[in-house]
Symmetry: C2
Subunit: 411 residues, 2 copies
Amino acid sequence: MERLPGFRDFYPEPLPHPDVWSADARQYIFDQWRTVARRYGFREYDGPPVEPLELFTTKSGEEIVGQLYNFKDKGDREISLRPEMTPTLARMVAAHERNYKKPVKWFAIPQLFRYERQQKGRLREHFQFNADLIGETDPAADAELIALLIDTLRAFGLTSADFVIRLSSRNAWQDFYKQGGGHADHEYDFFQAIDKLERTREESEKKLAELGFSIDKVNQFIEDGHPTAELAGILQNLAARGLQEFIKVDYKVIRGLAYYTGVVFEAFDRKGEFRAIAGGGRYNNLVKLISGGKVDLPALGFGMGDVVLLELLKARGLLPKFDSPMDVFVTIEDESLRTISLKLVQDLRAAGYAVDYPLVPTKGDKQFKRAQELKVAHTVRAESDAYVRIRNLKTRDEVVAGFADAANHLG
Amino acid sequence: MERLPGFRDFYPEPLPHPDVWSADARQYIFDQWRTVARRYGFREYDGPPVEPLELFTTKSGEEIVGQLYNFKDKGDREISLRPEMTPTLARMVAAHERNYKKPVKWFAIPQLFRYERQQKGRLREHFQFNADLIGETDPAADAELIALLIDTLRAFGLTSADFVIRLSSRNAWQDFYKQGGGHADHEYDFFQAIDKLERTREESEKKLAELGFSIDKVNQFIEDGHPTAELAGILQNLAARGLQEFIKVDYKVIRGLAYYTGVVFEAFDRKGEFRAIAGGGRYNNLVKLISGGKVDLPALGFGMGDVVLLELLKARGLLPKFDSPMDVFVTIEDESLRTISLKLVQDLRAAGYAVDYPLVPTKGDKQFKRAQELKVAHTVRAESDAYVRIRNLKTRDEVVAGFADAANHLG
């Protein structure tokens, strides 16, 4: 029996097959995400992996349904596996915002699902680090969130030689559009044309011309790259933190989604080999929309998927190996010492060490081979109920220690 | 917009409403599960949260479908949200078992889903710690797994006064059944009757009588509680580890599921206030069944859900509070020092501290109140680009330190 197309199995390392994914690398990535988010004062939340379909169509319109993993449940409800976290976040914040001091700084690590037409190797799920800051309009909030994004990537060993945050602003483009005589009704078409400029140049140029904008004028605006007051404030704030080398204004970025209302940004690898590592921006109207007008809070956030990040870390040689998870192997060569050896295993585990041992009688050389495969630092052998022999597999030093004293010799 | 019935929202503490769940407590529980599993040499794995329906019906028969969160996807596949992890595990192990040394010791923390008729407050999802040991028939493997179960519960502060593992054996009951003249065809009916003895006594007695077994004889067997050689080996092994006080033979436990083949066990609170905390046993035929006969490996495992565990920890006062996640609050009273204060925030976070600060100009007393709400140990204030003032909120001691030296004064 096979798993469903577009889904991943996560195995312990070393990996048995190139077609599967590392559960250890996944956990490593989650750990870094959590650690940095907590340092920044972001608190973890989570919601259901399935939600009413309406939650997602309210935000993104009916056309989103074509990309959703949606279905009817046995209670005849239209529901969907979550394609993104922000609507759930908006729902949750709107329900209980009075109980939380603003700004609310929250993060989540949801698994997200899309049912797009299957392309070879295309995944239908991924994990995404979502960090959001709710209840503050000041660009200081945008700077705080972008600093978190930068420090999250740095936690993996990535430097300013590896990635850059391209910072832009819907407001800047809105001003440009208005000053160029654009009509409010077609503003989003204009944003879409800018968004696609890098990928489908010709089509975008045609659309821009239709809207009354010459490509030269658009290009000039992009090349000037003059930061708005808002963006200047963000750059200054990040410079105060010593993070200026990680960010540049780049008006080519505008983000496709309709719901962004102000600052937008994307993290890219400097070499341009991969899709965006992360992306986000302001969405000041979403909480109001999702709550049916009951709660109105400004907000911004970003999402960072596990797949592109993993590719980048691999390509840059920054992904650790996780094939050495054990500390100690307790050998049992004399079966009459098994009972006392089990006590030794128990004591060492209670002291916090990751310990393995032969479950059943096993030849000495096989045990030693197993210890080497597990890349343990030490083997420990009970010599009696009074003494143990500890061997450092690297230095080959051996010491004999009192039974209760074993853990103190494991460094 | 509401979340779906039977699903949970997880919020940061302090919780805003009794109807929501703590994301912090959930993470605390996951952390303990992971920590103890790793000490025991169990490696993490995961599979997709949706699988082909057939994976679950192959194991449990078509009658399981009534309880599943199943549907047809857009590719016309019959699929289901996973109701349990073991079929996925069996599928994954069977696919790549040659690449892993036996015994395979793996764990996972899946979210599992059931679509049962909605009862008030009844959940349709929960998280479950799954630990499995594959490739070893010796009862030493059963003892290792049960020791992990015991130490996992102990990691939460639970003692032998709080819980006990009730150990039983399908083999023991099988022998009893055969010696009593039971026919192999009705063996599973017999097991079911034993399983329901505690809940629906009368019905079970009737069924047992039909099968030719007097309730007195059955009760006598339970009361004798004479351990089989296999169970005696497990008890001895656990006693060697000093864990004998956590386990007792109890033949009233037999586990409902058809697929168990040998030792079975359940963890219960001693006061009998809650449903089983965890349950598991041997399932030596499942890998063969799921792999269509290609791979034949003995196996055993247990599952421990987050919901009963959480109830128990709350009832015993063992659940920590998680309302103090920040270490430091950087105050900014003089806005001309904001730039240097941002540098201070950055430095302290880089040193590993969880740091918050006022994003925008804020009155001094409000900042101090916020620091108290966050229950930080210290406030730190930049006095200039050369000095900082550090205040211990508990002792009220204040020290002035060099700017680069601030982190060394935070204990």
